[in-house]
């Protein structure tokens, strides 16, 4: 079985995001970029399934600018087998990414596709679900435990108020949650080997996918600064303020 893992190059989680001067997005000029942390978990899970002898090949896919090759190389250094970059300088929204991923899935015919539940830059949480719908595959989102057994798979999902375990038939899609696993550190010999692994660069046009954005970003703003607190003199004053100023009771 092949496993397809999608990874996204995003602002490093340690970097404090700043809105750009035009108010149209996050300022990405000269800031550190890394693999989306949820996608690292996706790569790790694929590696564990392969190490358990339940998969033969892990293909890492990314979509976006040329530098996304570095992100794919990171996954290859962790142990994935080969990579595909769909190169595009345009903004790629979740539906476009889902379509591109579907086009690749049709070519590669994986038994399992694993993606992060969301990317930490836009927090869309849509790509995996859209992909499954496009492919008409079962989807197991927010996975905190995965157990592949032949052509079936048990997945524990983190849902509101608890855990839900479902069984899906393969091929299927998984989106990873934070507690699924702890991604490994790349080993030095694997970092060196990663360079020699196959990494194909293709375009959306080759996949015959129209990536035109369907959504328009109107404005991006920083969250409002937290205001200083106030010490009240009595319970009566507190109740008064809650009632008349904050208007919450």
């Amino acid at each position: 079985m092949k496993i397809l893992v999608a990874v996204k190059r995003v602002l490093d989680y340690n970097v404090k995001a700043r809105v750009n001067a035009e108010g149209t997005g996050i300022d990405l000029a000269n800031v550190k970029m890394s693999m989306n942390p949820f996608d690292e978990i996706a790569v790790e899970e694929a590696l564990r399934i392969k190490e358990a002898g339940k998969a033969d090949e892990i293909i890492v896919v990314s979509m976006g600018v040329s530098q996304s090759q570095e992100t794919i190389r990171t996954a290859l250094a962790m142990g994935a087998d080969r990579g595909i970059l769909v190169e595009s300088d345009d903004e790629l929204q979740p539906l476009a990414v889902a379509k591109l991923l579907a086009a690749i899935a049709k070519r590669e015919e994986p038994g399992l596709v694993i993606v992060g539940k969301q990317a930490i830059d836009d927090d869309s949480n849509q790509t995996g679900q859209m992909f499954a719908a496009l492919m008409d595959w079962p989807q197991a989102t927010f996975a905190s435990s995965v157990d592949v057994d032949g052509d079936k798979m048990k997945v524990t999902r983190e849902v509101d108020g608890g855990l839900e375990t479902i069984e899906v038939s393969l091929p299927a899609l998984i989106t990873t949650d934070l507690r699924l696993n702890e991604p490994r550190y790349a080993k030095l010999p694997n970092i060196m080997k990663a360079k020699k692994k196959q990494l194909d660069v293709i375009t959306p046009a080759e996949l015959e996918v129209d990536t035109t954005s369907k959504l328009k970003v109107v404005k991006v703003e920083e969250p409002e600064q937290r205001k200083a607190g106030e010490i009240v003199g009595s319970v009566a004053e507190l109740v008064d303020k809650l009632k008349n100023e904050a208007k919450v009771i």
Partner: protein, 589 residues
């Protein structure tokens, strides 16, 4: 406070100032391509900040513990070491012949900084293994190499260096440990002190390299031999077997690096410790010297690595801590102390000198890469001289300055800096050993003046000056105003080095020259720093990232204006003439 590896800064210096591409073009370093270098820096940085840094404070507070059964490292140490070795980091710069990755020393210098910034007490263990590996790889028999190297390169076993004895510190002529031949091996007896990671619980075996005298050995340094003494003797299949008669009898209570066990080692208390001769008898000290340069470079790196961590901590505090409004302007709101001029001064003092120290260490590492790998023997010779000239400067200057900078790191925190829980004090305590071990600053100064300047009649210094003048020409040709300012500073530095070297070369009384050695060392540090920053100024012309370029220019200007003048004080001190210290009876001091 977490550590964040300054990969962007490192990458800039490697690519544009020191010339990683030239090193990668050397035979044997073909794998050091830009993408591999970037990936290695990235992943090493991740490992340092996520695995090593979180153990630093706890390691300091817990410290290593001694008992009859052996030394126990702090919680988490063993797991981190296992991860470190399994990830292959130990083998980064070792020869592929023994299972290493064969990467250039230049890249290794950058990576080593990360281990020492994030956790110096941890980083010391692989540092010592490195020395032991090179001693065996360069001088031991094939049999010993086969038995030990691969497992030490992978980090499965660690190595130690056993030189010092209570009466033999800087003066190794006084070594008394003995080695008596018995069949195919020797029996080693004697006590060694200050043995870093002499015993620990992180690996299944520890391989000691021990200096000792054979029965008929001549007196002094010409009668010292080098031996491999494993903690566990090897079975026929190469696995660790019977316990050797080599034990840690106590560990020291130190100012810093608490998590790194500093052991008193006792060899041969009972039947005698089985040891195997490295190379030939009586050549042990020479063998030690072949790896001394590398170990000294590594300690020089420690010097600024700890200062880098102190800087990151101080900067974060200075941004966060709000006191008083800014000095000028109408704004009466309290501001982060980072906006107060004197705090800026301290931060810039730290950052600019860390940058200079980094360039010097990279230059030194690159010189040894050239010396080891260049196709042309003459070029190899020249770079060997360069590496050997820079080594005492990197070791001496960068550690002396490193301690000063860690002290500034405390200062920026104000009263909080004096409180242990803040963490700034640990860096100062840890850094304090760096000007001492692997040869004190005094030893480095004598080495620089005696062996590296006077011994070759100033050839190494002249070659350095010639390269500095090439930079001078490039600054003159550049036409940008920052280059012109750099040229002024560089010209002064060139004159200082040239004049002082000539002055000292003429000195016939070695005792008088020795009295100037320390000033000479510090002058060479500050003045070659101007050269480093001049090249930084030139390199900014290649940068597209304008904000980063302006930071580099600001650091360079600060260095030229505020730091380089220190060289002038040392220049004057030397020019004023050397007191003959023997004229004063020490009894009246």
């Amino acid at each position: 406070m977490s550590y964040s590896a300054p990969t962007k800064q490192m990458q800039f210096l490697l690519d544009h100032v020191v010339g990683m591409a030239d090193v990668a073009a050397l035979p044997g370093y073909e794998d050091a391509t830009p993408d591999i270098v970037a990936a290695i820096l990235e992943e090493a940085g991740k490992f340092a900040s996520e695995v090593l840094a979180p153990l630093n404070w706890e390691g300091d507070q817990q410290g290593a513990k001694w008992s009859e059964e052996g030394v126990t490292t702090p919680d988490g140490w063993k797991e981190a070491y296992t991860q470190f070795a399994e990830a292959g980091w130990n083998g980064l710069a070792f020869s592929p012949e023994h299972g290493g990755q064969g990467m250039p020393g230049l890249l290794s210098a950058a990576v080593q900084e990360m281990w020492h910034s994030s956790n110096m007490a941890f980083g010391l263990c692989p540092l010592l293994t490195q020395g032991a590996v090179h001693a065996i790889a360069s001088h031991a028999t094939d049999e010993l190499k086969q038995a030990y190297l691969e497992k030490m390169v992978s980090g499965l076993w660690t190595g130690t260096m056993n030189l010092t004895e209570p009466q033999a510190g800087s003066d190794l002529a006084a070594v008394r440990a003995t080695a008596t031949p018995e069949g195919d091996h020797y029996l080693v007896k004697g006590q060694k002190i200050f043995i870093t990671y002499g015993d620990h619980d992180m690996t299944e075996n520890t391989i000691h390299l021990v200096l000792a005298r054979t029965p008929d050995a001549p007196e002094g340094v010409k009668g010292i031999s080098l031996f491999v003494v494993p903690k566990f003797l090897l079975n026929a299949d190469g696995t660790p077997g019977a316990r050797n008669d080599a034990r840690c009898v106590s560990i020291e209570h130190k100012l810093g690096i608490h998590a790194s066990p500093t052991c008193v080692m006792s060899f041969g208390d009972n039947e005698g410790a089985v040891g195997y001769l490295v190379g030939e008898e009586n050549r042990g000290l020479m063998y030690m010297f072949t790896m001394m340069n590398e170990a000294r470079l590594a300690v020089g790196i420690e010097g600024y690595a700890v200062a880098e961590m102190a800087y990151q901590r101080a900067l974060a505090f200075a941004r966060d801590r709000k006191q008083g409004p800014v000095l000028l302007g109408q704004d009466t709101d309290v501001t982060g102390i980072v906006n107060h001029p004197d705090v800026r001064r301290m931060l810039m003092t730290m950052r600019s000198q860390i940058e200079v120290a980094r360039v010097m260490a990279y230059d030194c590492a690159a010189a040894f890469d050239f010396a080891g790998h260049h196709a042309d023997a003459e070029v190899r010779e020249k770079f060997k001289r360069r590496g050997e000239l820079l080594t005492p400067i990197v070791k001496g200057w960068s550690t002396e300055v490193g301690v000063e900078l860690c002290s500034l790191g405390v200062q920026i925190h104000g009263g909080m800096g004096f409180i242990e829980e803040t963490g700034a004090a640990q860096h100062l305590r840890d850094s304090r050993i760096t000007p001492i071990y692997e040869g004190t600053t005094g030893i480095q100064a004598n080495d620089l003046l005696g062996r590296k300047t006077m011994y070759d009649g100033g050839q190494g210094v002249d070659e350095l000056l010639a390269d500095m003048r090439i930079t001078q020409d490039a600054l003159a040709a550049s036409g940008n105003p920052d280059a012109a300012a750099a040229n002024l500073a560089l010209t002064i530095s060139i004159d200082q080095i040239s004049n002082v070297s000539q002055l000292l070369l003429k000195e016939e009384n070695p005792a008088v020259a020795a009295a100037a050695a320390s000033d000479y060392l510090m002058l060479m540090g500050y003045a070659t720093g101007s050269w480093a920053m001049s090249r930084v100024v030139l390199a900014t012309e290649q940068l597209e990232d304008k904000a980063f370029a302006s930071l580099q220019l600001a650091l360079a200007k600060f260095y030229f204006d505020k730091i380089a003048p220190h060289a002038g004080a040392h220049f004057l001190a030397i020019e004023n003439g050397q007191a003959d210290y023997y004229q004063i009876d020490q009894a009246i001091l």
